[in-house]
């Protein structure tokens, strides 16, 4: 940083720039300019010497020119009137005999980002498009897009667009790709650049001449082209086959996506593509670049969602290495969890077991949760490993194991006995809220099978005064009341003490209310308490959610090779919620807020977001598929917002219903097989404001009725009502067709 204040610096530099002696000495002149740029880079406001810098642009020294132009592009938005003075020099440079200078001047001029510059750059751009040097044409082609953006909502210049389309046949590969990029930007309101048959075939033939960036980009543009015949389609696939072998991971991914989408009507071709991309993806998973490795792992997970066995024989590739960063290890553990099968389960579990004692508590816990996930299929082996882990008496391990146990007995009741035997002694190694809650819940629900359950709970009751987490107290109240129902003699006394404490001394109102509630409930009579408190102790049907019907490749093919798999679908949904308007941007008519003046940051997004709720109508967003885990978590955390019973007579075909729901953008997360009684299904939908609906359908053929429960993540009655009416209509229609 300079010792002087920035004002003094500006003054001094201004003087130096004006000094004719310095101006005469090229080396000194350039040094002063370099100092200006250095200060600019450091974030000092150097806009004060704008005038002097403009003068310095008239030079034959190309490096000095570059620096000056860089300076102008940075400060032009602040000094638009002064910047116009520089236009002259720029225009002159645009017809310099040296193509480097022409290109530089044109690029800088198009990057000025200030109002009023359009009229000056139009002609130089048009000249540039016809320049004999490809270096200049590249710049000019992108300049068209920059000019269009500066215009804001201006109309598309048809002649310019035609010129760009004809430049797709340019000799220079970068000019060709730049044309596509530029057209895409200019025509974004009309759905982007049009790829018809001649263009598609031309691009296909030029592919091998392009660099890796161009290839990846062209593959993406080619997605728009619909081959006319099956024969043409397979010709194209053959032509692009070798790009699956490219040394650039970006091109491999682009080619994979292209194949998946183009072959969307040919499932066997898709499967074949996924088999062939296995090698490149595995290689990327052990790439030297951690980031590319991370991206590849995310995509492997995506593929595993549809083809669970796809990478099973390569499971060893996903074993963690000591020095890998955390995010890669976590992804690998997730992958291992998903590719497990009868053959590799032994080795995978052994490996995961090793991770459970890792020094990093986070990683160890992730590994334990992964074993918990595998336990839903391979219950006995996993419960044994988890039980052994309890023997280590490590706090961070015990708490996660107990939480895993809680989830497990709920889904797989057959392991209850083993879990109950493992529990005694755990209480000594649990300090955190989550772990305590899980343990107390288990003791309450399955207390009759755990001999020392009352004693453990008694300890918690004794120490309730010093308990810091209200959630633990709530759990304790419920658990103790439940245990009291099964083992009254041992619990009566302490239940009294706990209720007394909660009602008389507790400061947290929620805990106090819960205490009062149970107290009054007990006054009504023990049978009533039993009726209300004793619910099922497990719900294996929820396990349905863990084993969703195979998700078709087409459900995610369009998201392949974007940020969606990298963030994870659930996380992406929350991110795009705040970007909601941006994603459907090109389809929406542009608002007038995109004024020609002012910064070009699209602030209109915010406005669109505010506009949407006012429109009143419910708009469900297509393809908003939630993961089963995310659904389950949200489902359990929400209360039922609406419940209703619809009549249902006659036959029932789940597939028809699923399709009908799909049409109105209600996604099926999981459902029972046809003919199961009672039949259950879990659905989800999201509207354009981000409001999420979770639905449970319960069909009991004996009663001829369909019970609908809807949960909503934001309490909005209006949208709820419109949603219910949509759902009613769909179910009603299907019912009528059937009967």
């Amino acid at each position: 940083m300079p010792y002087l204040g920035s004002e003094d610096v500006v003054k001094e530099l201004k003087k130096a720039l004006c000094n004719p002696h310095i101006q005469a000495d090229r080396l000194r002149y350039r040094n002063v300019i370099q100092r200006v740029i250095r200060y600019m880079t450091q974030g000092l406001d150097m806009s004060g010497v704008f005038m002097e810098m403009v003068k310095a642009s008239a030079t034959v020294d190309i490096v000095q020119k570059k620096l000056v132009y860089l300076y102008m592009c940075t400060y032009a938005p602040l000094k638009p009137d002064l910047a116009l003075l520089a236009i002259n020099t720029l225009c002159k440079d645009c017809s310099d005999p040296n193509p480097m200078v022409r290109g530089l001047a044109l690029r800088s001029m198009c990057s000025l980002r200030m109002p009023g510059v359009q009229e000056y750059i139009q002609q130089p751009i048009l000249n540039g498009l016809r320049d004999k040097a490809s270096y200049v044409r590249r710049v000019a082609v992108l300049g068209c897009a920059k000019m269009h953006n500066l215009h804001g909502d201006s109309e598309v210049d048809g002649a310019l667009v035609n010129e760009l389309y004809s430049l797709l046949r340019d000799q220079d590969p970068i000019v060709v790709v730049n044309c596509l990029r530029s057209l895409e930007e200019i025509l974004k309101q009309e759905g982007g650049v049009v790829i018809n048959k001649p263009i598609a075939h031309h691009l296909l033939n030029r592919m091998s001449k392009l660099d890796q960036w161009g290839q990846a980009e062209v593959l993406n543009f080619l997605l728009r082209y619909q081959p006319r015949s099956e024969e043409e389609l397979f010709d194209i696939l053959n032509l692009l086959d070798s790009f699956l072998k490219s040394s650039s991971p970006g091109v491999v991914m682009g080619a994979t996506k292209f194949f998946l989408i183009l072959a969307k009507k040919f499932p066997h071709v898709q499967t074949d593509v996924l088999v062939r991309v296995k090698g490149p993806l595995l290689a990327a998973c052990s790439s030297e670049s951690r980031e590319l490795c991370f991206v590849a792992l995310c995509h492997v997970r995506q593929i595993l969602h549809s083809l669970p066995g796809h990478f099973s024989s390569h499971y060893k590739k996903f074993f963690c290495s000591y020095s890998e960063p955390h995010y890669i290890k976590l992804q690998k553990v997730e992958v291992l969890c998903e590719l497990v099968n009868d053959e590799n389960v032994q080795q995978v579990l052994e490996e995961l077991r090793g991770y459970c004692t890792d020094v990093s508590a986070d990683f160890a816990q992730a590994a334990i949760f992964a074993i918990g996930g595998i336990a839903r299929t391979y219950t006995d082996q996993c419960v044994q490993i988890l039980t052994e882990l309890l023997g280590l008496r490590q706090e961070h391990i015990t708490t996660v194991v107990v939480q895993t146990f809680r989830d497990l007995v709920w889904l797989c009741p057959q392991c209850t006995e083993a879990v109950c035997q493992a529990l005694p002694g755990c209480e000594e190694n649990i300090q955190d809220s989550e772990g305590k809650q899980a343990l107390i819940w288990l003791l309450g629900v399955h207390g009759e099978r755990i001999p020392n359950a009352p004693y453990v709970l008694e300890d918690f009751v004794e120490n309730v005064k010093s308990e810091t987490f209200p959630a633990v107290k709530m759990e304790l109240l419920t658990a103790l009341l439940r245990l009291f129902l099964s083992r009254p003699a041992e619990c009566q006394d302490m239940l009294g003490r706990l209720l007394y404490y909660c009602i008389e001394e507790e400061k947290d109102m929620a805990v106090r209310d819960r205490g009062l509630f149970y107290y009054r409930l007990l006054l009504v009579g023990i049978d009533e308490v039993k009726r209300i408190l004793c619910s099922p102790k497990s719900d294996p049907t929820l396990g349905l959610l863990e084993d969703p019907a195979e998700r078709p490749v087409n459900s995610w093919a369009s998201d392949f090779n974007t940020l969606v798999p990298v963030y994870g679908k659930a996380h992406w949904a929350t991110i795009s919620k705040c970007q909601g308007a941006e994603r459907c941007g090109p389809e929406l008519p542009k608002t007038s807020s995109f004024a020609a003046s002012g910064p070009l940051i699209p602030e209109d997004n915010k406005e669109r977001e505010q506009e949407l709720p006012d429109s009143g109508a419910l708009m469900l967003v297509p393809n908003r598929q939630l993961t089963a885990e995310y659904f389950e978590k949200t489902w359990l955390s929400l209360k039922v917002a609406h419940q209703q019973v619809l009549p249902w007579r006659g036959e029932f075909h789940p597939d028809t219903l699923q399709m009908a729901l799909q049409v109105v953008n209600i996604q099926t997360i999981a459902m029972s097989r046809a003919g199961t009684r009672p039949w259950k299904a879990y659905l989800s939908a999201q509207d354009d404001t981000g409001c999420l609906f979770l639905i449970e359908l319960l069909l009991e053929p004996e009663n001829s009725e369909m019970q609908i429960s809807v949960k909503q993540n934001e309490a909005r009655t209006e949208t709820l009502n419109s949603f219910i009416s949509v759902l009613e209509t769909v179910i009603g229609t299907i019912e009528q067709i059937k009967s």
């Binding site: 955390h326 995010y327 990298v566």
Partner: protein
């Protein structure tokens, strides 16, 4: 892909240099980057992709620098990371080492390069050989102002300029195979693979047409050469430099190309066939709490007797509070490197079939440390010249140029360690 802007930040997250390519994301958004990174790191949820509101940050770290690309679009992640790595590669070729100092010292060239690498958020010229033709390190010297556009910027073959001339026309071919190995603490091999690369150093005049012949099994089967004494290799995941005509390779497995000038990587391949670990390590690490650690390491060369592994380095982990080291080695020398908490046992030359031993003894403080330590693996580095694990061979290299000169190809084979780890218990 489309990056809105690219930033180079110092280790504290302060922008050293930046380039706003598209102007659709405010440059001030970068201020959120470092706090976000720190927060995620604390939560244990750090990832190379972060988001703040509408902006996505895709970042990589290189020595003491962060390279960050911002975008508001649902971009293609692998392409953006590839671009950032390419940027680093280009900078490294200009400055040898890329770090905070080199960015500060060369900010003019950095600006110039950023200007050429990308325009409006799209990668443009990223080949450093071509960039070096018109952005020179000696930019401090005054130019005449009449600099010509280098021909490659406008060439149809983008990776080679016309009119290259050498007195002596030569090609050097390096076949390098790296062995990746992961062995469990109980001695079972978890992972063993070979990653091979063929690198070329080309000193050829004009526009030569090259053809490389390998003992590729698929090719042998195609031409009926298989069987008999012709040993062939089955290559997996073959990837080529852009210059190789992929369609010809797909048709008849011919590797034909017009090479770039100078150094480049022609192709890479993988082999996942299980091979015997070239250097096998058995170790016993006994820790006697409060008093000492005793380490015994046995290394065995499991390759042909005629071959010799050079520069073997075996690094064995020791507890961070160990002191007063003592070593005994049957060959080579051992050194304690406290800053990495390892003992490095170096053996200059290690012939195949031999077995060597090292013992180390460390003292431990009587007061034990609080925090638990991880169990780092034993790592091995080595290099075996004149030998490839896979048995791959260059059968011929044909060089044809229209001027008809004679050129000589030179071939060198080398096998080296890649990620070679043996877990300890």
């Amino acid at each position: 892909m489309s990056a809105s802007a690219v930033f180079i930040l110092d280790v504290k997250g302060k922008p050293l240099i930046s380039r706003n390519y598209k102007g659709d994301v405010a440059m001030s958004k970068i201020e959120h980057f470092m706090p976000l990174l720190v927060q995620r790191e604390e939560e244990g949820a750090l990832a190379p992709l972060l988001s703040h509101g509408q902006v996505h940050f895709l970042w990589i770290k290189h020595s003491n620098l962060y390279l960050v690309a911002t975008t508001a679009k649902n971009a293609n992640a692998s392409l953006v990371y590839s671009f950032l790595y390419k940027t680093i590669e280009v900078f490294c070729e200009y400055f040898k080492e890329l770090e905070e100092e080199s960015i500060r010292d060369n900010f003019v060239i950095v600006y110039e390069l950023l200007d050429e690498l990308m325009d409006f958020g799209f990668p443009q010229t990223t080949d450093s050989k071509i960039l070096q033709e018109y952005i020179t390190q000696q930019s401090n010297k005054l130019e005449t102002g009449k600099s010509r556009v280098p021909p490659t910027v406008t060439n149809a073959v983008s990776w080679r300029s016309e009119g290259i001339k050498y007195k002596k026309n030569e090609v050097f071919i390096d076949v390098i195979e790296s062995v990746n190995l992961l062995v469990n603490a109980n001695g079972s091999v978890l992972l063993s693979e070979i990653v091979g690369t063929i690198k070329l150093k080309v000193f050829l005049s004009g526009m030569p047409e090259l053809r490389l012949g390998l003992n590729d099994r698929v090719l042998f089967e195609l031409t009926g050469l298989s069987g008999g004494k012709n040993k062939s290799v089955e290559l997996e995941d073959v990837k080529f430099h852009q210059c190789v005509r992929l369609s010809r390779f797909d048709n008849d497995r011919t590797i034909s190309f017009i090479p770039p000038d100078g150094d480049f990587e022609l192709m890479s391949y993988r082999l996942s066939t299980q091979v015997k670990p070239l250097i096998w390590i058995e170790s016993v690490i006994e820790k006697f709490s409060h008093s000492r650690v005793e380490i015994m390491v046995k290394a065995k060369g499991q390759f042909k007797k005629q071959s010799v592994a050079n520069g073997v380095e075996i690094s064995v982990p020791v507890p961070s509070d160990a002191d007063s080291p003592r070593f005994k080695t049957s060959v080579g020398s051992a050194k304690y490197v406290p800053e990495r908490n390892v003992v490095i046992w170096s053996i200059k030359s290690f012939p195949g079939g031999k077995e060597y031993l090292m013992r180390a003894h460390f003292g431990l403080p009587s007061v034990e440390k609080e925090e638990v330590e991880g169990r780092p693996p034993i790592g091995v580095k080595f290099e075996i010249p004149y030998f490839t694990v896979s048995g791959i061979q260059v059968r011929y290299m044909k060089i044809i140029e229209k001027s008809g000169y004679q050129a000589l190809p030179w071939v060198r084979y080398i096998t080296q360690s890649g990620d070679y780890q043996l877990r300890t218990s």
